[in-house]
Symmetry: C2
């Protein structure tokens, strides 16, 4: 297959490029580099199965060759308002990538009769009132909160994808991606994994907000990519959660990272800076992924963190 991947220079998009090429497909990558990084795909330069178009998906997309699949992964994705790469710093671009970008990429799929896969997110569940989240849960999201630029863009993108499936018979898929970590995360995107590892490698105490009892479920990127590929190859049109259901408290997570990095500086607790619509807890129910795709994550947290720490060490030259 020839596959168009938007957001190809991003954390997930670049792993997806590698995986698809490893499976014998050819990839046209697309990115405008507002949050993605050329370094993530530099190793693909010269690969006959990879080509690249620098382009903003919110503008009309011209694809020079027929593609068999379109995977729309372009979007800022970090919720951290302090990071210049988080969606609170890029609100209009985030909404345009989600709405105009989904419209344009669905247009490419329609043009070529290609299958389409939307990268959606656990964020469509908002601050959920149901745990763990099944795909049938409608979510609890503030339409005008500071996260709404991402949440509502992705909810819109899902609705538009289903509309193209139902009314234009486009062969679509929707993956709802939960927290993911691994090599090629941005060091500076403000999310907890790079923040903790960065602090640990600098032998600084890890900053935990609140009491650290809030939980997260982290999926290693290789597991996630495998699940997404299985979904692409399946015939499932309704949304499928892909993520790791193992919950860990932020405090235990910090302790784990200090252990793996041999950081003696410990942990410092700071006042909870949770904003009004930040979720306290999110955990995927992956029954559908198990049943339909025969997928579940298999990388344990220690192994996943070891690879991630090795990547960050190399990046910051420690």
């Amino acid at each position: 297959m020839r596959v168009l991947i938007t957001g190809a220079a991003g954390f997930l998009g670049s792993h997806l490029c590698d995986y698809l090429i490893s499976q014998g497909h050819s990839v046209i990558g697309m990115d405008n580099f507002i949050t993605g990084s050329p370094e993530n795909i530099a190793h693909l330069a010269g690969n006959p199965n990879f080509s690249f178009i620098k382009h903003d998906v919110s503008e009309y997309i011209f694809v020079p060759q027929k593609v068999d699949a379109v995977m729309h992964f372009a979007s800022p994705a970090s919720p951290n308002p302090a990071s210049p790469f988080g969606y609170p710093s890029l609100p209009i671009q985030t909404m345009k990538a989600g709405a105009l970008g989904t419209h344009n990429t669905l247009g490419v799929a329609k043009q070529f009769g290609a299958r389409f896969l939307l990268a959606s997110t656990s964020e469509i569940y908002g601050d959920p009132l149901e745990h763990p989240q099944k795909e049938s849960y409608w979510g609890h999201a503030d339409p005008i909160g500071y996260r709404s630029v991402y949440d509502e863009a992705k909810r819109f993108a899902e609705a538009l994808t289903m509309a193209y499936h139902r009314y234009h018979n486009i062969d679509t898929r929707i993956v709802r991606i939960f927290n993911t970590y691994g090599p090629r995360m941005r060091l500076d995107d403000g999310r907890v994994v790079p923040n903790f590892i960065n602090q640990a490698l600098k032998k600084e105490p890890l900053t935990v907000y609140g009491d650290g009892m809030q939980t997260r479920s982290f999926c290693y990127v290789a597991d996630l990519i495998e699940g997404i590929y299985k979904l692409l190859m399946s015939d499932e049109h309704l949304p499928v959660n892909i993520g790791n259901p193992s919950e860990i408290s932020i405090l235990d997570f910090a302790i784990e990272i200090n252990g793996l990095t041999g950081n003696p500086a410990g942990i410092v607790f700071k006042k909870d800076k949770r904003l009004s619509d930040d979720p306290q807890r999110r955990q995927p129910d992956i029954t559908r992924a198990k049943t339909i795709l025969n997928w579940e994550p298999h990388t344990n947290l220690q192994d996943g963190l070891a690879s991630t720490i090795a990547y960050f060490k190399q990046k910051i030259n420690i």
Copy 2:
């Protein structure tokens, strides 16, 4: 002021044109007539304070003169899947009007430094779990249900409007419009008011689905328009509900219409055809409109229905 009104040939848009002109403003109307009707604005032809541009708001909008305000009312709005004018029959157009149309009209407001008012909807509350609905309620909407083409487009439009307010300092307003009735509703849009009146005027029994105990809150269009105008003239940026909080059961409503039209054919009950994400009940909390805008509806149901029935009688020549 010179005001651009999109959806100007629609039920609400056309009343808004009339009201703004009556208040001394001039109006540029815009519509593509996919659900709006030229008849609704025919009486404004030749009025020096009215001009019209036939245009689809999902395409780039060129406005030939500076405008002081932009009011984005263009969208299919009936949820009835049986009507060719309902949004289930126009799913992609509905999503484009909500997302691309809001993006384009916000662009016009940005270009001219104009104030902006978004016609949002009680539909953003979905099938609400809270009654009556306050503006602080986040809603309960299915992102991929058949109503999602409208609900998610409007939720997205709200989020985008707030983003333009917060990050581009656009002087925005958001009105959440609840069920409204009155002259210039489409006879054939499949909503309960035209359906009942149409049946009653033809001396047919009114069709009530289920037991008729589901309630609705109907606001007369003149009241609604007055509330929207007050919001436009206010400095309120957060969403404001405009609607009538008086609840009436569908059964009582049918009885009322049979009484006012002298229809002897009574009522026929049919099996509930409620789809999965149809709301069972929706009622505005209008505390904010009362407090901030000093607005509340004052037309009683009998008077409002009398005007509406008179309009439909004339339309269908009875």
